[in-house]
């Protein structure tokens, strides 16, 4: 057996871990630099760049919009996804595999193409509002996460428990709400969290669906970076990392972080 105290293995692993962590650590340091451009190591210490983040209207409104779209898209994906996974796992459906592929098909289309195609079909052809189109795009991003995670836990369920409830006179919907749903609770939370964070961080889908009053946070940062090179971006990065860390703590507290790694396509 190759042991963890193998010197070659330790050396390679530590170098690779350093490569993964050090750059993020460096961003944190540069966010506190007092120079007008980004220095590393920093010259002086200041919090002014964090204040500057909140002085950028695009960042503040972008955060609100990204947060809103991520919550709505994840909820929508669950609302559509859970019933269809229930149908796929509990009923004998002809060509069930084709349905599985159909519901995972958003992963087969590059995200930038989803945004591009939605812009042409929904915004230009059907004249739908940008916000609706944006929501649709993010819903498509979230649906595969929901389908994969919920299918994994739904197939593990013992269907006889639900059947027992029917025999004792419980209605289908009541049995689903009080028995099936609570027993897949943790994968619902996991699916919501993964959907939320992926939607919140997504750039390619939102790229074509930006408007004068509609900015998502990641695309706002991208635009800011085209014209500026100052520690404001470091500061907003630090805030985003704190946000990620907070979500991870929440997930760990409620369902354990392992639930997130169960998603394997």
């Amino acid at each position: 057996m190759i042991k963890t105290n193998n010197k070659v293995l330790i050396t390679i692993s530590c170098v690779v871990l350093f490569f993964l962590i050090a750059p993020l650590f460096m961003i944190v340091v540069t966010a506190f630099g007092s120079g007008a451009t980004i220095d590393f190591p920093i010259q002086g210490f200041t919090f002014k760049w964090f204040a500057n983040v909140f002085a950028q209207p695009d960042f503040v409104s972008g955060f609100e919009m990204s947060f809103l779209v991520a919550i709505l898209a994840s909820a929508l994906a669950l609302l559509v996804g859970v019933p269809l996974v229930y149908a796929l796992t509990h009923y004998h459906i002809h060509h069930q595999q084709w349905f599985q592929v159909l519901f995972l098909s958003p992963t087969f289309i590059p995200e930038i193409v989803i945004g591009f195609a939605l812009y042409q079909a929904m915004v230009i052809l059907f004249q739908l509002p940008l916000l609706v189109t944006l929501l649709v795009g993010h819903f498509l991003l979230c649906l595969p996460y929901v389908v994969r995670l919920i299918t994994a836990s739904m197939t593990m369920l013992d269907v006889h428990v639900e059947e027992a409830a029917w025999i004792y006179g419980s209605s289908r919907i009541h049995a689903f709400l009080t028995i099936t749903l609570p027993s897949i609770r943790s994968s619902i939370v996991a699916a919501f969290m993964l959907s939320f964070i992926n939607s919140f961080n997504n750039i390619p889908i939102s790229l074509f669906l930006n408007g004068p009053n509609l900015n998502m946070l990641p695309t706002s940062i991208l635009n800011y970076l085209q014209n500026n090179y100052d520690p404001t971006v470091s500061a907003v990065s630090v805030l985003l990392m704190l946000f990620t860390a907070m979500l991870m703590i929440l997930v760990e507290h409620f369902i354990g972080l392992n639930a997130l790694s169960k998603d394997r396509s």
């Binding site: 057996m1 190759i2 042991k3 193998n6 070659v8 293995l9 330790i10 390679i12 692993s13 690779v16 490569f19 993964l20 750059p23 993020l24 460096m26 961003i27 540069t30 590393f40 559509v80 019933p83 269809l84 149908a87 009923y91 459906i93 519901f103 098909s105 992963t107 087969f108 289309i109 590059p110 995200e111 930038i112 193409v113 989803i114 591009f116 195609a117 939605l118 079909a121 929904m122 052809l125 498509l140 649906l143 289908r172 750039i203 390619p204 074509f208 990641p218 940062i221 991208l222 970076l225 090179y229 971006v233 470091s234 985003l240 990392m241 979500l247 991870m248 972080l257 790694s261 394997r264």
Partner: protein, 292 residues
């Protein structure tokens, strides 16, 4: 008896009808959403591109241009190199993580998961700081007198590869760690008892057993790196376009929406090919393990 039987069958038929109807109702919103919001828009951009001679003239024109060929080849090469590097770096790290005590392993999993959940802009921005003209690396090399003037590291194909490796390494590692954990260590112990040195055990005993995990990781990384937008946009600049940045440039900067559609369709075909290969490989491997 006959009456009972017929009552039973009508009841049964009725139940099947109800079941079919509820299955239909439960699937309907999802099917409609996919057809209306995904298939329709994609077909809508695809149809006009197949106009003209044999329907392929747009694609032939696109591929005849040396510039476009360059973009296509750059996209594939960057994705391929990214895949190879993430595998080379990820494999030892995954073995190391998978074999730790559970407390250490959980801690390391958090370290791997954190970048995956952090915004791609943040993760690419850090390489602008490092590779930029007055960046960390140039400053360091100048101070150590290795170079006389700053190197042009940013806005190159190499910068895109570095950024992509940084972006996709955690995904490769998560895919590999779970496969390493499924390995039976007794096989390696047997190899060691029979006199195999660790390096030989690693290549001849472990890697063959990890084929599924390695292929899954490789295909996920390849498809991801091939279609990523943020990294080539931030680290490649305007001169080093890949397919995804080409779509955006054709549509938004040049206003040439039909060319953008052609690029989009080619990118879809490539993604479907790559991801379809993964399903095929997974099926083949499943069948082989059943036969064994």
């Amino acid at each position: 008896m006959k009456i009972c039987y017929s009552i039973f069958t009508t009841y049964e038929q009725e139940m099947i009808k109800i079941r079919n109807r509820s299955a239909f109702l439960l699937l309907l919103p999802g099917v409609l959403a996919i057809l209306l919001f995904l298939f329709f828009p994609v077909i809508q951009i695809a149809l006009p591109t197949f106009a003209g001679h044999f329907g392929l003239s747009n694609y032939i024109t696109f591929l005849q241009s040396h510039y476009n060929q360059g973009v296509l080849i750059r996209t594939l090469i960057i994705a391929f190199i990214t895949m190879i590097i993430t595998l080379t770096l990820g494999l030892p790290l995954s073995v190391w993580i998978a074999r730790q005590r559970s407390t250490v392993r959980n801690l390391l999993s958090v370290v791997i998961l954190f970048p995956i959940l952090t915004n791609a802009v943040v993760r690419n921005f850090t390489w602008i700081i490092i590779l930029g003209k007055n960046g960390v690396l140039n400053t360091l090399l100048l101070k150590l007198n290795f170079i006389d003037q700053p190197l042009t590291l940013l806005y190159s194909d190499m910068a895109i590869v570095i950024g992509s490796v940084y972006l996709f390494l955690p995904i490769m590692v998560t895919s590999l760690v779970s496969s390493v954990q499924e390995l039976n260590v007794e096989v390696e112990e047997a190899a060691a008892i029979l006199g195999s040195r660790p390096l030989v055990t690693f290549f001849k005993v472990m890697i063959p057993q990890l084929t599924t995990g390695i292929l899954t990781g490789c295909i996920l990384v390849f498809a991801g790196a091939m279609t990523a937008y943020t990294t080539p946009q931030l680290l490649g600049g305007n001169r080093h376009l890949v397919m995804s940045t080409l779509i955006y440039q054709q549509a938004m900067t040049l206003g040439d929406w039909s060319s953008a559609s052609v690029v989009a369709i080619i990118l879809i075909i490539l993604t479907v090919l790559v991801l379809g290969m993964m399903r095929l490989v997974a099926k083949q491997l499943d069948r082989r393990s059943v036969n064994d």
